[in-house]
């Protein structure tokens, strides 16, 4: 499992990216993260809700009470237009970051 220190700065982007594919709620999102990474990264419950709070404050997502499923009323999250714009910036930033890290971490000459 990946250490959460390395990935800390990207939690918000993960969630935005998932929400960009459609509204969802807490457990579903953490399940998707786990599945998509084959269990290499598991987002901690408190990390996820810190991110929701931050994103809501910035206006990137909004929350609304969803319908009752399996006897529980869930809070759903939805990405806003600003959130989509922010996600785009972050995606571009990631391409550069990945290249930088690739170059420096790999340790092999090109």
């Amino acid at each position: 499992m990946i250490s959460s220190d390395v990935i800390r700065g990207y939690n918000d982007t993960f969630l935005l990216s998932l929400l960009n594919q459609g509204d969802s709620y807490g457990y579903e999102l953490s399940r998707q993260i786990k599945e998509k990474t084959d269990g290499d990264y598991i987002i901690k419950e408190t990390t996820m809700y810190s991110a929701f709070t931050r994103l809501s404050k910035k206006g990137y997502i909004i929350s609304y009470p969803g319908t009752v499923t399996q006897g529980k009323k869930r809070t759903y999250y939805s990405i806003t237009l600003e959130g989509k714009m922010h996600l785009k910036e972050k995606q571009e930033e990631w391409h550069i970051t990945r290249e930088v890290v690739d170059h420096l971490v790999k340790g092999e000459d090109k």
């Binding site: 709620y25 807490g26 457990y27 953490s30 399940r31 598991i42 901690k44 419950e45 408190t46 990390t47 809700y49 810190s50 709070t53 931050r54 399996q70 529980k72 009323k73 869930r74 809070t75």
Partner: protein, 321 residues
């Protein structure tokens, strides 16, 4: 399943509850339960499932920091009550009702006298007017005093708000907003109350200076107008002061101990000022004025004493820093 619930209860112990944190707790619990059920379905044992769920919970303080709240230490949590949104709303509501009832109580007492005066004014036409008037007066007074007593007893329930209590930052902000929004109504009510009191002189003057109505009727109407004016004062004044009390005594959990201690010290200074300083000033004023016959200008002492009072207050505040 119960273990998870207990774990969450434990984690949220000491977290001040408001609508936001309450919802957070519900959401997190629902997620953990989903996770637990999924793990069980995947073939994990009870213990394994609980172990994974707890391991993946994380650090509650990280989350609370984001919410701008910190878990209160046990001492604060046990020593001070936490007032939530609903408690605050109820307090403002009871204060408003109290103001209204006290206002009506005053009106009842004043109208009692007004009834008596009205009946006395028409004594010649109504047989037994005096007794009927007295009866009406006693009845109204009883109603008025009854209202006072009821409100006096209810005031006990509000006592926790008169000493420092813990408030959530978000709740304090919304109370501040409510007070700001109420300001206009408050000013309107005070103006209305004052106008009614001033207007109340009209019927008296009409009675005294013109033959339109008997003086007693004029006085009776004056009392009723004053009574209605008082309702404006007590109702809006109580709502206004309810907000003020919340804003003064509602403290954030991380600074409540300091601030409560500071209030306690200020209380001492205020006590000295009110119980010792001002009486001395008043006695001095009276003695000096009598001996010197200086009534014309000796009132200046109150202005000087007022200025000195603010100096003392600010000095005592500075010493603390």
């Amino acid at each position: 399943m119960n273990t998870i619930r207990e774990y969450i209860e434990q984690m949220f112990k000491g977290v001040p509850m408001n609508d936001e944190t309450k919802q957070l707790k519900v959401d997190i619990l629902a997620n953990l339960e989903d996770k637990y059920l999924a793990l069980k379905e995947g073939g994990a044992s009870e213990n394994e499932a609980i172990g994974v769920v707890i391991a993946e919970f994380g650090d509650i303080d990280e989350l609370l920091e984001e919410f701008g709240v910190s878990r209160m230490n046990k001492k604060v949590a046990t020593q001070y009550t936490t007032m939530r949104e609903a408690d605050l709303a109820r307090f403002v509501e009871s204060k408003a009702r109290m103001g209204l009832n006290i206002g009506f109580g005053v009106l009842a007492c004043l109208s009692g006298i007004a009834f008596l005066l009205l009946l006395l004014a028409f004594q010649a036409m109504i047989p037994g007017a005096l007794y009927l008037g007295l009866l009406l007066m006693v009845t109204s007074t009883v109603i008025g005093i009854g209202l006072f007593i009821i409100e006096g007893m209810k005031a006990k329930e509000m006592r926790p708000f008169y000493s420092p209590f813990v408030i959530m930052p978000i709740d304090k902000e919304s109370i501040q907003d409510e007070q700001d929004n109420y300001k206009q109504s408050f000013i309107f009510s005070i103006v209305a109350g004052v106008s009614l009191c001033i207007m109340s002189l009209t019927p008296v003057l009409m009675g005294a200076l013109t033959p339109m109505i008997p003086v007693l009727v004029g006085v009776a109407f004056m009392l009723i107008l004053i009574g209605v004016g008082v309702i404006f004062f007590t109702y809006s004044g109580n709502i206004w002061s309810a907000y003020g009390i919340i804003l003064t005594n509602g403290k954030y959990s991380d600074t409540i101990e300091e601030e409560a201690a500071k209030d306690e010290r200020n209380k001492k200074v205020n006590y000295i000022l009110e119980e010792i300083y001002w009486p001395i000033i008043v006695v001095f004023y009276l003695v000096f004025s009598f001996l010197q016959g200086a009534w014309a200008w000796s009132w200046i002492i109150f202005i000087l004493a007022g200025a000195l009072e603010s100096t003392i207050k600010s000095l005592s505040g500075n010493w603390e820093n």
